[in-house]
C-alpha cells in the first residue's frame, strides 16, 4: 500500500491528501490535467453560486412568505413561497445579478419575462411577475406540486401509453410557444414537471437563451454544480449557436422520448427504441426522425410530431400521412435539367460499356477456340481480358438499370432514358442465351486459363478430348465439350428455375426492369461502389496492356 500524507496544494490552494506514488502531488490538480479542454481545476471559484437562505431572502420580498428552498442550479435557485394577499402558493426563482449582467443585463431579462408572461397554456408553467430586487432578478411563477420527469424516470419504467401522453402534452406546449416565437432551447427531463393531476408543465422557458446565451459553456466552467448534460442539445445548438430555431426543441424532445421509452440515452451506435424495450415498433420511426441530426429531416413542427405520434399508434398498418409525404417527394426531386443531363450521361455510359463488352466477348471466344500455341499471341492474358469483358457488361447493366429505376410504366419513359434500353435488352437477351450457352462458355473460359491443363486434354466420363480429330467438324473437341456443357447446363437451368419459383424477388430486377423493388438510393449506392471498382479494374488492365506492349 502507498503511504499517504496531507498538505496544501500550491496550485489550487486546496488541502489535499496524496501518496508517494503520485510524488506527493495534489490529486485534483493531477486529474485536472486530463480534463476536457476549457475545464480546469485551477479555474477561479468566483462564479459558483450559493443560494441564499430563506431568512436572507425574506427582507427583499415583503409580499411573500418564503417557505423553503426547493432546488438550485449553477446560476439560479427556486423557493416555495406563499403570496400573502392571495394566499396562493407560488414558486420564486432568483438569479444573481452578476450572471445576468454579464450576458445582456436587465433589459434583456425584462424583454424575455414579458414574452414569457404572454404564454398561457396548460402545459407551460405560468409566469406571474418578474423584476429586480436587491442583488437579484426574480421571477414569480406557478407552483407545481410534483416531481420532474427525471425523478419519474428514476423511479419506474414508463408504459408506452404514458410516454405518449407526456410527449403529446409537451408537443402541445411547444407548439403554443413556437407559434409565439418562443423557443425553449433547454428541453430536458429536469425541465418537465408533472403535477399531481398528471398534467405536464414545462419550466425555464426561453430563459436558457435570454439570460445565458452561451449556456453550455457556462455550465461547463462551473464544474462544481451543473456539469451540463449536452445529450439533449441539438447538434446545431453546439455547432452554430447563433442559428437555432424551434426544431432544436423537437430534437431534445426526441432524445427525451427515447429515454422515456428505453430508460437510456441514445449514445453512440444506438438501437431503435423497440429493440431496447417493449415499446411499439411503430413509434421508432417517429422518435428517430425527431432525433435527426439535420433539422430539415426532423418533423417540422411540434404539432406534426404530435400527429405522427398519434398516427403511429392509432392507425391501420399501411396508413401514411399524405400531405407530409407529398411535400417530401417534391423537395427531394432534383431539377429537371440536371435530371436529363444525368440520364443522358448514364445512357451514354451504359452503351459505351456494352460496346466494350460486345467486342470483348468476341475476342474472348476467339481466344478460347484458338490452339494453345496460338493463344499466347493474344496480346494480354485471356483471364484478364475475360474479366474486363464481364466487368464491362456488368457496368453497362448497372448504368442502364439505374437510369430506368424510377420508371414505373412505359408511358413515363423520357427520351433521355430510352438509349438505356438498348444495352438492357441486349443484356436480357444474353441472359436468356446464357441459360443455355452460358455453362459451355464458362467451361471453355476456365479451361483456357493458363493455370489449367489444355482444353484438349480434358476428359469426361472416360472419353478424352485428346483423341478427337481437330480438323473434322463433327468430331472437333469442342463438340465433346458441348456434351459436358449440356449436363452442366441442365443443372444451371434447374437452379434458375428453383431461384425463380422459390425466391422471385432475387431476380426481380432482371425480369422487371421498370418496377424497382429496392429503393433508388440503395441501388445508386451499390452502383457507385460497383462502378468505382470496375473503373479501377479497367484502368489497371489498360496499364498492363501498355506494359505488355
Amino acid at each position: 500500500m502507498s503511504m499517504t500524507n496531507q498538505s496544501n496544494c500550491t496550485v489550487c490552494g486546496q488541502c489535499y491528501e496524496s501518496s508517494d506514488i503520485l510524488r506527493w502531488q495534489c490529486p485534483a490538480c493531477l486529474i485536472a490535467k486530463a480534463m476536457p479542454d476549457g475545464v480546469g481545476a485551477t479555474a477561479p471559484e468566483r462564479s459558483r453560486f450559493t443560494p441564499p437562505t430563506v431568512s436572507e431572502l425574506a427582507p427583499y420580498f415583503d409580499q411573500l412568505d418564503i417557505i423553503e428552498l426547493i432546488g438550485y442550479g449553477g446560476m439560479s435557485a427556486v423557493y416555495k413561497a406563499v403570496q400573502k394577499n392571495l394566499n396562493r402558493t407560488i414558486a420564486l426563482k432568483i438569479l444573481p445579478h452578476e450572471i445576468s449582467d454579464s450576458h445582456g443585463g436587465l433589459a434583456r431579462f425584462q424583454r424575455e419575462a414579458k414574452l414569457l408572461a404572454q404564454l398561457n397554456h396548460p402545459s407551460i408553467v405560468q409566469v406571474f411577475d418578474a423584476a429586480q430586487t436587491g442583488p437579484w432578478y426574480f421571477i414569480l411563477m406557478e407552483y407545481v406540486a410534483g416531481p420532474n420527469l427525471r425523478q419519474v424516470l428514476g423511479e419506474s419504467e414508463l408504459p408506452t401509453d404514458e410516454v405518449l401522453r407526456i410527449s403529446s402534452l409537451i408537443c402541445d406546449g411547444l407548439q403554443y410557444a413556437h407559434d409565439r416565437n418562443v423557443v425553449h432551447r433547454d428541453i430536458k427531463p429536469e425541465n418537465v414537471l408533472i403535477d399531481t393531476n398528471g398534467q405536464v408543465k414545462l419550466v425555464d422557458f426561453g430563459l436558457a437563451k435570454s439570460l445565458h446565451g452561451s449556456s453550455e459553456r457556462l455550465a461547463m466552467t462551473q464544474a462544481g454544480q451543473v456539469v451540463g448534460t449536452p445529450h439533449y442539445l441539438a447538434p446545431e445548438q453546439m455547432l452554430t449557436p447563433g442559428d437555432v430555431d424551434h426544431r432544436a426543441d423537437l430534437y431534445s424532445l426526441g432524445i427525451m422520448m427515447y429515454e422515456m421509452l428505453t430508460g437510456e440515452l441514445p449514445l453512440g451506435n444506438f438501437a431503435p427504441p423497440s429493440r431496447r424495450s417493449k415499446s411499439d415498433p411503430a413509434l421508432d420511426k417517429v422518435v428517430l426522425q425527431a432525433m435527426s441530426r439535420d433539422r430539415s429531416n426532423r418533423q417540422q413542427n411540434a404539432s406534426e410530431l404530435h400527429a405522427l405520434l398519434r398516427a403511429a399508434i392509432y392507425r391501420p398498418k399501411d396508413w401514411k400521412p399524405k400531405v407530409a409525404n407529398a411535400e417530401l417527394r417534391i423537395s427531394q426531386r432534383p431539377s429537371s435539367l440536371m435530371k436529363s443531363v444525368w440520364e443522358l450521361l448514364l445512357s451514354i455510359c451504359s452503351i459505351l460499356a456494352a460496346f466494350v463488352g460486345f467486342v470483348g466477348t468476341g475476342n474472348v471466344i476467339d481466344g478460347v477456340f484458338r490452339d494453345p500455341g496460338d493463344r499466347s499471341q493474344v496480346i494480354f492474358g485471356l483471364p484478364l481480358f475475360t474479366a474486363v469483358t464481364l466487368v464491362a457488361w456488368l457496368l453497362s447493366f448497372v448504368f442502364a438499370r439505374i437510369n430506368v429505376s424510377d420508371v414505373s410504366s412505359w408511358s413515363e419513359t423520357r427520351w433521355t432514358q430510352i438509349p438505356s434500353f438498348i444495352p438492357l435488352m441486349t443484356f436480357y437477351a444474353l441472359a436468356i442465351l446464357m441459360g443455355v450457352a452460358g455453362p459451355s462458355l464458362v467451361i471453355a473460359i476456365v479451361a483456357s486459363f493458363p493455370k489449367f491443363v489444355d482444353f484438349e486434354q480434358w476428359s469426361f466420363v472416360g472419353s478424352s478430348f485428346e483423341d478427337a480429330d481437330k480438323h473434322s467438324f463433327f468430331t472437333h473437341y469442342w463438340l465433346r465439350a458441348l456434351n459436358v456443357s449440356l449436363i452442366v447446363g441442365i443443372a444451371w437451368n434447374l437452379l434458375l428455375t428453383l431461384l425463380l419459383t422459390k425466391f422471385p424477388n432475387s431476380v426481380h430486377g432482371v425480369f422487371h426492369p421498370t418496377t424497382p423493388t429496392t429503393s433508388t438510393r440503395t441501388v445508386k449506392r451499390i452502383a457507385l461502389i460497383v462502378a468505382c471498382t470496375c473503373l479501377l479494374a479497367i484502368l489497371v488492365s489498360f496499364l498492363m496492356v501498355a506494359e505488355a506492349n
Binding site: I21, W24, C26, K33
Partner: protein
C-alpha cells in the same frame, strides 16, 4: 540537440484496442483475464468502503476478497449490463448487495434460521441502500475518492513503466513531480543536474504532460461503457477529489 528532446518514450499501448468495460465483459478467455486484472486493481476502494462500514481491517479484507472470488467464479460480470453504467458504480452496487446477502445468510444459518440479529453495520448499509439520495453520502464519497486515487496511481505507474521501457527512468523521476507545477527556475536547476538544457527539459515536460493525459484517459476508458463517458467520468472523479 540533446538526447531528451530527440527520444520519445515508447508507447506500449499504441497497437492495441483499448478495452472498454463493455468489451471486457463479452466473455472470452482473454477478456476474463483483463477483467480480473481490473478487479484486482480496484480492490482498495471496496476494501475501504467495507472498512468504513465498521468492519475490522482484516474482516473487511476477507469480505472484499470473498466478493471478488464470488464475482469471478460465477462470472457475474459477464451478465452485468455494462451498457448502462460505469464499472465504478456497478462494483459498488454489487458489493453492497453482496454484503447485505452475506450478512443475512450468516445470521440465519448460525442462529438456526428465523432470528435475525440486528446489527449496527447492517442498519448503516441498508439505510444508504434504501435512500441514497438524502442520507449521509460520506461512505460513497469516500469510495469515489479512493477510486479516483486508484485511477491516478495506476496511471502514474503505467506512465512510469512507459518511460522505463525506453530507458528514461531518470528523466521521469526528475520531471514527474512537476506534473502539476510549472516553474522555470526548477528546469534550470534540473538542467545542470541532468546535463541538458532548460528548453529541452521544458519540451520533455510538456510531452510528459500529454502522455499523462493519455494515460489517465485510457485508464478511465477501461471503466466506462463508451468513449463519450470519459470526460464525464473525469469530471466526477475530479469532484470526488475536491475537499
Amino acid at each position: 540537440m540533446d538526447e531528451f528532446s530527440k527520444e520519445r518514450p515508447k508507447q506500449p499501448g499504441r497497437g492495441f484496442r483499448t478495452t472498454h468495460w463493455s468489451l471486457v465483459t463479452a466473455a472470452s478467455a482473454n477478456s476474463a483475464e483483463a477483467l480480473e486484472e481490473l478487479c484486482q486493481a480496484y480492490w482498495s476502494p471496496l476494501h475501504l468502503y467495507a472498512h468504513r462500514l465498521g468492519l475490522g481491517a482484516a474482516e473487511a479484507e476477507d469480505l472484499t476478497q470473498a466478493f471478488f472470488t464470488r464475482m469471478l467464479d460465477k462470472n457475474l460480470l459477464a451478465i452485468a449490463d455494462s451498457g448502462r453504467g460505469r464499472f465504478r458504480t456497478f462494483l459498488l452496487t454489487a458489493f453492497r448487495r453482496f454484503i447485505v446477502n452475506e450478512w443475512k445468510h450468516e445470521n440465519t444459518l448460525k442462529r438456526g434460521g428465523g432470528t435475525t440479529r440486528t446489527s449496527l453495520n447492517l442498519d448503516n448499509l441498508t439505510n444508504t441502500f434504501a435512500s441514497k439520495s438524502n442520507c449521509d453520502l460520506s461512505h460513497d464519497r469516500l469510495y469515489e475518492r479512493e477510486w479516483a486515487m486508484t485511477v491516478l496511481q495506476r496511471s502514474f505507474q503505467n506512465l512510469a513503466s512507459e518511460y522505463a521501457a525506453s530507458n528514461q527512468t531518470e528523466l521521469f523521476e526528475a520531471l514527474s513531480p512537476l506534473l502539476t507545477a510549472d516553474d522555470n527556475g526548477t528546469y534550470q536547476t534540473l538542467a545542470t543536474r541532468l546535463d541538458s538544457t532548460a528548453g529541452a527539459l521544458r519540451m520533455a515536460a510538456s510531452r510528459l504532460r500529454s502522455r499523462w493525459r493519455e494515460q489517465i484517459r485510457s485508464e478511465i476508458r477501461k471503466t466506462v461503457a463508451n468513449d463519450s463517458e470519459v470526460d464525464d467520468e473525469i469530471l466526477s472523479l475530479f469532484q470526488a477529489l475536491r475537499p
